[in-house]
């Protein structure tokens, strides 16, 4: 199987280039992460992040034949050759497939991604009905891989101002939580031309999310809540 992989090491390379690799033995059911590990055995200098190997840690997001995805849950058999692997678009490259995610994390922190309650704490759990809890499904599972935000044109153009789909999904995760008591603060923080309304519902985010989550829908919910709230 043939691969073309983006290479750039600021220590030695003037500029990025694509390196060709051939993988002789493609095992049945092989995932792209395993393939990359084999290629790294051929050329130890190939750098990429990875860890869990099962799509839960969110380390190994890369751009695969033009689409963002997690290497560890992408079967190589389904990819057209030569398989082109690049780092996430729109974010600075540290080396090879390793990108600088600090802007992405900063936007995550900016939406106050934590439960806020003002009531005194009970000595047991806060109650929440199964129906209320169901509202968090499709939201809390986010693994912060960044596939969505680095596929979002609005995030590319305004990485400092537009929180991006992942952070907005997290914002909605807390707005939707029956236990959270900071709706006003959260909505106020999202007010302004750059926050919510930079999303033009292009849907790239939902299309690439490896966990099947739908940030566009979450953004829609926030917009609706904001309208209702301002009336």
């Amino acid at each position: 199987m043939r691969f073309k992989i983006y290479r750039y090491n600021p220590d030695v390379d003037e500029e990025p280039y694509m390196q060709e690799f051939v993988l002789e033995h493609v095992k049945p059911g092989m995932m792209l992460r395993e393939a990359l590990m084999e290629l790294k055995n051929q050329d130890e200098t190939l750098s990429f992040r990875h860890s869990c190997g099962e799509g839960v840690c969110g380390s190994d997001g890369v751009n695969i034949n033009g689409l963002n995805g997690l290497a560890c849950i992408t079967p190589v058999a389904e990819l057209t050759e030569p398989v082109e692997i690049r780092p996430f678009p729109g974010v600075p490259v540290i080396r090879d497939l390793v990108v600088d995610m600090s802007g992405f994390y900063k936007q995550y922190r900016s939406v106050k991604p934590f439960l806020i309650r003002y009531d005194p704490e009970p000595e047991v759990e806060n109650l929440q009905s199964p129906e209320e809890r169901d509202k968090l499904d499709g939201l809390y599972e986010c693994i912060l891989c960044g596939c969505c935000s680095t596929a979002c044109p609005s995030f590319w153009w305004n990485p400092d101002k537009f929180p991006g789909p992942s952070a907005l999904l997290q914002s909605w995760r807390f707005l939707a939580d029956s236990r959270d008591q900071a709706m006003e603060e959260r909505l106020d923080a999202l007010d302004g031309p750059y926050k919510l309304f930079r999303c033009h519902t292009i849907m790239n985010c939902a299309y690439v999310c490896p966990k099947g989550l739908n940030p566009t829908k979450a953004i829609g919910h926030i917009k609706a809540l904001m309208l209702k709230h301002s009336v």
């Binding site: 130890e44 750098s47 099962e54 839960v56 840690c57 380390s59 991604p113 934590f114 759990e125 968090l136």
Partner: protein, 587 residues
């Protein structure tokens, strides 16, 4: 070499559940805390925990901490320390409520309370009917807990050193631990972080084995750092094989699958656990179920063309339960096996999963080691918590759901003790320069160029050796060979060379440092295992099939420097209740 230095009150190595729980406690108490992690915090392997965390909330069936304590002592095959176990089980409910308050999206019961499911080894009234004690967020409990703890740390403004790799501990002439030498992975530059206390929370070492439920990063770095600092590792022979890893691949299928009603069958379709554990069947302790599967396969009753696994059946549960309670493992089965557990059984086999052993601590998270006449002298300034530590609450076999509890309870306990330590130790002590130089040497050694073996080749051999010589069933001969093989592999290390000599995000260098760590832990594990001439918990010897309390109800301590073994007694006296004396263990 002039290495830059940063100073904090207190340092935590590791941003998994253990490290983050401790950090939260410290940051909330306004201590100046630094957390070092070789990966971004939410990538830590706690994120992969599925089934849940144990606490006797009694939301579904009657329960109390004392029954939980009994089950844990019995599960440990009487090697657990009963004071620490009492402490953990008493603290459990409070810590789970605290997590809920922090935002963990636990699944819910109709009553609005936290959802709980039955897990293996849980009973009511000291060995009676099955208990329902494991608090769950679907089958993504670890993810829910790790993300919530990280979020609350953002709120508490903890200092994170993300993608910094800890190389070795730094101490002074009196042996007080004063911080660590790290490397900034992005730049390859060394940095010394000095602190009045250091908490090791670097997680497990499942990468010792070829087929494992553990992530690529679980290389036991903290354990190896302790070994190299002259601290022994405790009970390393007890390595848990989880009964239900996906056969040949290793991804975990949570015990919660059996908790929700799933069961195992052999090639004849027989529900074989009925023979091994007539009362609780598929919900026996993990060591019992893993042995049963191995025996079924060895005696020719395995499934598949090579008769090398058994099947886990969930197809009778209905799609509602699977979709609602086990969505994560359903995805995993679809992605990796192209099967839907709603209608097709899952091929499973015991898979390397969890280190019961680790850095010896007391129930305050303080690292302890023998010194003079005392078997447990505190190492000043050094703490350990989580999977890298051995308190020991798991003894010879950990119960499912007790590790997430362990990391929370002892992460917090360590933080509380650290706060006391900081009050009495206001000033930084000067570290010993030779010690820093030595740590730096280990790091710089990988700049040696030329021809030599690759890290990958040695790592592969090491994992194969552990699998062949230190698996579910063990004998004298297999383990003695294992020691020779591991020693031969260790002897190859000086001749390993890196082709990648650049500084920027050099993952090859990281893997080289990890390989050295694995090699240190491998020898500790093999040697401890070979010496223990009995079967207890996860350590099953064909040549010594029985537990031998008279000679072996004691903890092993392996020291790297002189490759020696020592032992210390089990703490059989709980804090306030009666001792649970050893009994024959039946399920």
């Amino acid at each position: 070499m002039n290495i830059p230095v940063r100073r904090f009150d207190t340092l935590i190595l590791g941003a998994g559940g253990g490290g983050l729980r401790a950090a939260l406690q410290l940051a909330r108490a306004d201590a100046h805390v630094a957390v070092v992690s070789k990966v971004f915090p939410t990538r830590s392997h706690t994120v992969a925990a599925q089934g849940g965390v144990n606490a006797a909330l009694a939301n579904v069936t009657p329960d109390n901490w004392h029954w939980h304590m009994y089950d844990t002592v019995k599960g440990s095959d009487y090697l657990g320390d009963q004071d620490a176990i009492e402490y953990m089980c008493r603290a459990a409910a409070h810590l789970v409520y605290e997590l809920e308050h922090a935002g963990v999206p636990f699944s819910r019961l109709e009553s609005g309370r936290i959802y709980q499911r039955p897990f293996g080894g849980q009973s009511r009234e000291f060995g009676g009917a099955q208990a329902t004690r494991t608090c769950a967020a679907a089958d993504r409990t670890g993810h829910a807990i790790l993300h919530t703890l990280y979020q609350q740390n953002i709120r508490a403004r903890t200092n994170f050193f993300d993608e910094y790799f800890a190389i070795d501990l730094i101490h002074d002439d009196e042996g007080a631990v004063l911080g660590v030498l790290t490397m900034d992975i992005a730049t390859g530059e060394p940095l010394v972080i000095e602190a009045k206390t250091t908490l090791i929370a670097t997680g497990g070492c499942g990468q010792l084995y070829r087929t494992t439920t553990n992530a690529h990063i679980n290389t036991g770095d903290g354990m190896a750092m302790a070994l190299r600092a002259g601290i022994p590792l405790q009970d390393m022979e007890f390595f848990q094989f989880h009964p239900t890893g996906i056969a040949g691949k290793g991804m975990l299928i949570t015990e919660g699958a059996r908790g929700e009603g799933g069961y195992l069958v052999n090639k004849d379709g027989e529900r074989f656990m009925e023979r091994y554990a007539p009362n609780v069947k598929d919900l026996a302790s993990r060591d019992v179920v893993s042995r049963a599967i191995s025996i079924e396969v060895r005696e020719g009753r395995g499934c598949g063309p090579n008769a090398d696994h058994v099947m886990l059946k969930l197809d009778h549960l209905g799609s509602d339960i699977v979709a609602k309670r086990l969505p994560g493992i359903r995805d995993t089965c679809k992605t990796f096996m192209h099967l839907d557990p709603v209608d097709t059984p899952i091929p499973v086999f015991p898979t390397a999963h969890y280190a019961m052993g680790g850095i010896p601590t007391d129930r305050f998270g303080r690292v302890v080691m023998p010194s003079g006449d005392s078997p447990e002298e505190v190492v000043p300034g050094l703490y350990a918590a989580g999977e890298c530590a051995c308190v020991s609450v798991h003894g010879a076999n950990r119960l499912g759901g007790n590790s997430l509890l362990d990391i929370l309870v002892f992460g917090r306990a360590a933080a509380n003790d650290i706060l006391g330590f900081l009050k009495n130790n206001r000033y930084h002590r000067p570290p010993n320069q030779t010690c820093i130089d030595k740590a730096y040497e280990r790091f710089a050694r990988w700049e040696k160029q030329g021809d030599g073996e690759s890290v990958q080749a040695v790592r592969a051999d090491l994992k194969k050796a552990m699998e062949d010589h230190c698996g579910v069933f063990r004998t004298e001969k297999i383990m003695q060979e294992g020691i020779d093989v591991i020693k031969a592999i260790r002897a190859r290390l000086p001749d390993v060379r890196l082709q990648d000599q650049s500084k920027v995000f050099n993952t090859a260098r990281i893997e080289a440092l990890e390989l050295e760590n694995l090699a240190d832990i491998a020898i500790a594990t093999m040697r401890s295992a070979e010496a223990r001439q009995e079967s207890r918990g996860a350590h099953s010897r064909i040549d010594y099939p029985d537990r031998d309390d008279a000679h072996w109800m004691k903890h092993s301590l392996y020291t790297l420097e002189d490759d020696s073994l020592d032992y210390k007694p089990v703490r059989t006296k709980p804090m306030s209740v009666e001792t649970f004396p050893p009994k024959k263990r039946v399920y």
